[in-house]
Symmetry: C2
Subunit: 434 residues, 2 copies
């Protein structure tokens, strides 16, 4: 916790109306001292003077705590997309592949994301969905692990608590490479990896609970066992430091529509550690990853560098919307985002504990900062119904089965006052249901 935000106090159980009300002043003070507060103006939210369609007719601005599912719209995006459509596509047309830099966008946008992941340039490429990149990473990872002395490695480990798509695609990748798939609790992957392990796919942050897994330790243990580490960064990139290079991560994937605010279904990214790139043997060797794509030769010869992870023609409208969205990161250190993220989730937990009805809520969010991502997850009876009422009252989080209320904190645009007001509405909804 940095001095900017002051000390927080997480506590379980119910509080009192007076205790909760006292936190309003704290929220205002925290906002005033927030070094990132000016970033909020770079997003189109429902603040005064902005087009708030979230709750038509009510006049109450929406409090958006679902940026860990779909990031809010950065203000720079609409004009940029309009220019891409009307001028680059509509007027320059085919010439834009070179003149407007479309062709090289996957690597260029990748290099813009790279610092947020702790990656040096030339290792991140943008394109395809996270699922497709999981297939590339695991198949290519198994092939590397099985080369040379690793031929006997025939097992893929997957985080047993993973977001479903990773598990489904990991199973497919294992099947396609003749490996067995084994689901293991993330904290047990380090101890489970052995001489048969080719690759392990682990989520950096659990999408349900917000638990932050031990990337450095798990990666080191996988390497000690001779296996490769593939990390899914969907719920950590843009919320906290990842340190891909410093921790020697082999391969990583992630989406760009959560904390990176790229827009609905914006393209995902693939990180391939520089030292592995010459051995990266993709199951999707599309023409965009060819060393000379416009030679149109019948034989495949992979490009050097991050481009080796490309496949087909990149999706330009979404790619360039993402590029514009990434401008909000100018001048922002990911470490500062992390400090505010923890302060926000601490404050959320503090507000919940102070609610008179707070005992109906069980925080799943780990209390230890070292184990916490950038969301608050609360277990609650009829969580689906409660979230429906919250949304109807202008507090947007989401429900994850079977009984989890999930609230994302996105430090570039979430304020402490947002958190206070959201907790207040949550308290009212719970009161009304008693």
């Amino acid at each position: 916790m940095s001095e900017a935000y002051g000390p927080g106090a997480a506590r379980a159980g119910g509080g009192s109306a007076a205790e909760f009300a006292g936190l309003a002043k704290r929220a205002a003070e925290l906002d005033l001292a927030d070094p990132l507060r000016a970033k909020r103006t770079e997003f189109l939210l429902d603040d005064a003077g902005q087009p708030g369609a979230g709750r038509p007719g009510t006049g109450t601005p929406v409090i958006y705590l679902d940026g860990n599912s779909l990031g809010a719209l950065p203000a720079a995006v609409p004009a940029r997309v309009a220019d891409v459509v009307a001028r680059e596509w509509g007027q320059l047309r085919i010439r834009s592949w070179t003149e407007s830099g479309w062709w090289t966008a996957p690597e260029r946008v990748g290099d813009r994301i790279a610092p947020l992941l702790g990656a040096a340039p030339g290792q991140v490429v943008v394109g395809d969905s996270t699922s497709v990149n999981v297939l590339k990473a695991i198949v290519a990872g198994v092939r590397i692990a099985q080369s040379g002395a690793g031929a006997a490695r025939d097992e893929v480990l997957v985080d047993a608590t993973t977001f479903p798509t990773d598990g489904y695609v990991a199973e497919s990748a294992a099947r396609l490479t003749g490996c067995a798939l084994r689901a293991v609790e993330p904290h047990e992957i380090a101890a489970t990896a052995g001489p048969r392990t080719a690759v392990a796919l682990v989520n950096h942050v659990d999408y349900r609970t917000g638990r932050l897994h031990d990337l450095p330790g798990t990666t080191a243990a996988l390497h000690a066992a001779g296996a490769l580490a593939v990390w899914d960064l969907c719920h950590s990139a843009g919320a906290l430091p990842v340190g891909l290079d410093v921790h020697g991560v082999d391969l990583a994937v992630g989406c760009t529509y959560k904390f990176l605010n790229g827009g609905p279904g914006s393209p995902a990214y693939l990180y391939v550690r520089r030292g592995l790139q010459p051995r990266f043997d993709s199951p999707l060797p599309g023409w965009n990853s060819h060393a000379e794509p416009f030679a149109m030769s019948a034989g495949y010869r992979p490009a050097d560098g991050a481009a080796r992870g490309r496949v087909g023609t990149p999706d330009i409208l979404s790619m360039l919307a993402l590029e514009a969205a990434l401008e909000v990161w100018d001048g922002v250190a990911i470490e500062a985002v992390r400090v505010k993220s923890l302060a926000l989730s601490d404050f959320f937990l503090e507000c919940v504990a102070a609610l008179p009805g707070g005992s109906a809520l069980t925080p799943l969010t780990p209390s230890a900062h070292a184990e916490r991502g950038s969301q608050v997850a609360l277990r609650c009876a009829d969580a689906e119904g409660v979230m429906g009422e919250l949304i109807a009252h202008g507090v947007v989080g989401d429900f994850r089965p079977p009984d989890v209320l999930r609230f994302g904190v996105t430090p570039l645009y979430t304020s402490f006052s947002d958190i206070y007001r959201a907790a207040g509405v949550l308290g009212e909804v719970l009161d009304d249901r008693r």
Copy 2:
């Protein structure tokens, strides 16, 4: 050739200046009689009163004959994209996944494309790149072919003249399924298919020469051999009738940024014949193809129908730009497009034959209509240099190695006067080089 456009005459060799000049009147007459001519106004081109940035400062409108590479911008797209960004993403945010129909867009847009392919609803899904869909189609096709009595089928045939990415990805799919890959000239695939053939991947139209391959005959021959037919429709969909259902095609893929005008890198589509859908076993079983995606269950259970071909979160900005672009097809029969396409390419060949310098050009475009796609390909010395000069003079086609000038005809917005003027500029460029 329909009566609307009158008779054409293709002829090889050079003509005379007078002969060529005489074709100007024919072009004007053909345009006047063109039943599709009003469609041109639904595109943003460089016509009078439109923003023509193609050749800044010259005042000469660009003649765009590269719509077989990147379709022109339909007029409905800019406003639709602006609304998707500002309102659906910016204001409704996460709610748009249901309220704005984002979640179901891949099937909905697929059903909008389906009639152009001769497919009944529920068999086309939009998403990913063509390359990624080739992997899905071949791997799933091999698995179907190898089921039951087909276990010994261990060979994938691929069109030897294919666009490179299909060949590269087919090789990967063969490797992942333990098959051998065999490259065969497209007209020999029917005779080559045998008891070991699992799947053949064939291009409906050759991207270089514009040759239209025999989809009905080749498909029937593959079926007779017990194999599956996978067609790449990139250069035929939106230009001519495909007849997927009537010809019993098993699987098909294609892009949407050529004759379907979806914009740069707009998502591709996958067709899975209804009867095969229950057996479609995807190598990319992402969460979007799960029967209950939001149950977030650890076990994979595939959805019924076209959704089984989905993978990850769909790319909404590009998907909905495509949906808006498809509105230009309202009231258009693909048969009428085909009639005009052939009339345009006939007229182009007639113009080339009439050019005094026409003997420097060798048409690769088949003279028989039954073998012709929707482009004119001309072999020419220093084709790359010639195309560079054409573009500098406002005639935009493209160069394909080693020696091909390629001009797409896109009947919704290409006029006969465009063709006449383009041929005239080509003649001038060739004259200047002599």
